[in-house]
Subunit: 256 residues, 2 copies
DNA sequence: AACATTCTTTGAGTTGGGTCAATTCAGCTA
DNA sequence: TAGCTGAATTGACCCAACTCAAAGAATGTT
């Protein structure tokens, strides 16, 4: 449930100061557009308790949202009734754009920890986009980026080992932290092991085991929800190199 | 390579007649907008040979495309250098929208068979969208649908058995055929087994085996690239029911 | 028609990661 | 500070799907 709902005089630009880099206002600021027009369309700016829903799957689509502090996960219910985590959103990132199509949210969104989230009614944004060409273009870009992000997830889930999936998640989180000028090597995971496992298409037990493995290889150091990447380059290499077919090679060598 | 490039007087509305239902023009026609404005922005309408690229990954983004006849696959190259098939596009469907973000196509697109494809320079579309509110909204919807589609693929790749993935693909293709008022029970697969396997995150051999299994269950009939769905409802049930944990049950019963 | 090439199927054997079960740990509340 | 509850870890075992290998179809080429 929402905790507070304080209407700030200029929520979007204040978002920039709070989270270092708001996806929404930065490009517009660069483009030199009038931000006051945008302020008017921002509905509210609320606190969400950990575990509370921002919107539910199939609820009528009204707004998209920007994380100002905290973290959010989006997930989808399958026909069989089990949940699939689709993404994690950190401060400065926008979510809720997949509901535009048929007027209902395709996924639900939930705060992973106490979070400040600002809501932007899409209809207003749409209308304003007609008058501000940069805003229209920016929205197209945001949605395109979301397509790309979902495609990358499909890619990750396709033919990658458990180790690669975890490493990939860590590196993605790392670079997203870097964009906000936070440490790319040391950060905390706002989501549970269960969420990580679900997101990466693994079992919780596997996540746990992989974390230990990476730790024993001195690639990362994990302590509860705190991660430290000890050797980012080695981690990146792990995603590029094809997993060596060591066993087949040995088999070949064993032949007379 | 492109084979011909004949500029038709009204490519968009002719697309409707050709493919039964063009995603692009239908909602606009409903909205009563002036289609002639749209005709002007459509660049060309070309034939592509089987296997020829419509655009390559990382090439500068200029246009989005609509399939008029034939079929297209989009795919992405991983850092390791292997291909991941991201989607199949049938007549009336638009592709190439994931390049808006950073000015380069995020995936490449290739004709699966001899295909007629019409190209729409995005910049023109964007500009026109400012003047035609319905077009702007329609583009947002299209992109939102694309996000949704990619999310569903992630979902499919996450925790589904090989059988479920194949069934899901068949049912999706079926309903897409139905939208074009073609038979939902009997259609041909424009893509190879390899493409199917890659798209579904499986090995080719597994696809082949699953196809046989479904056939022996009298759920489908497959002959080369022709599929017949013998019992759509049974297929749908297979996706809803949780895979019965028969073995555990037996184990429990065996206990003294 | 014979050949070459690619696509598809079938068989045999292996394994990465899942499931189940049992602890251990961490965060709360009282 | 003990006690409770859900989260995380660890171990043992197993299976769905992968890999490797080879045969069989289909398709194109000369």
């Amino acid at each position: 449930m929402k905790l507070t709902s304080n209407r700030s005089p200029n929520p979007l630009s204040s978002s920039c100061e709070q989270c270092g880099l708001s996806n929404l206002c930065l490009p517009l600021a660069i483009a030199g557009e009038d931000l006051s027009r945008l302020d008017a369309v921002v509905k509210r700016d609320s606190m969400y308790a950990r575990g509370s829903k921002v919107f539910a799957q199939n609820a009528p689509f009204t707004s998209c949202f920007v994380v100002k502090s905290g973290a959010v996960k989006t997930s989808m219910m399958s026909e069989r009734g089990d949940e699939k985590v689709l993404g994690f959103y950190l401060p400065g990132e926008m979510f809720g754009l997949d509901g535009v199509n048929d007027g209902a949210y395709a996924c639900s969104a939930e705060a992973l920890e106490r979070s400040a989230i600002c809501e932007i009614p899409f209809e207003h944004l749409e209308q304003l986009a007609r008058e501000l060409p940069h805003l229209q273009r920016y929205l197209f870009r945001l949605m395109s980026r979301e397509i790309h992000g979902a495609e990358e997830l499909s890619m990750l889930l396709s033919k990658n080992t458990a180790d690669e999936r975890i490493v990939s998640l860590f590196l993605t989180l790392s670079s997203r932290h870097a964009r906000r000028r936070l440490s790319p090597t040391r950060f905390s995971l706002p989501m549970s092991r269960g969420d990580i496992a679900n997101f990466l298409g693994l079992a919780v037990e596997t996540v746990s085991r992989v974390l230990n493995r990476l730790q024993s290889q001195h690639l990362v150091k994990v302590n509860g929800r705190t991660v430290e990447l000890l050797d980012i380059e080695a981690l990146q290499r792990q995603l590029q190199q094809p997993a060596e077919p060591c066993i087949s090679a040995i088999k070949l060598m064993d032949r007379p």
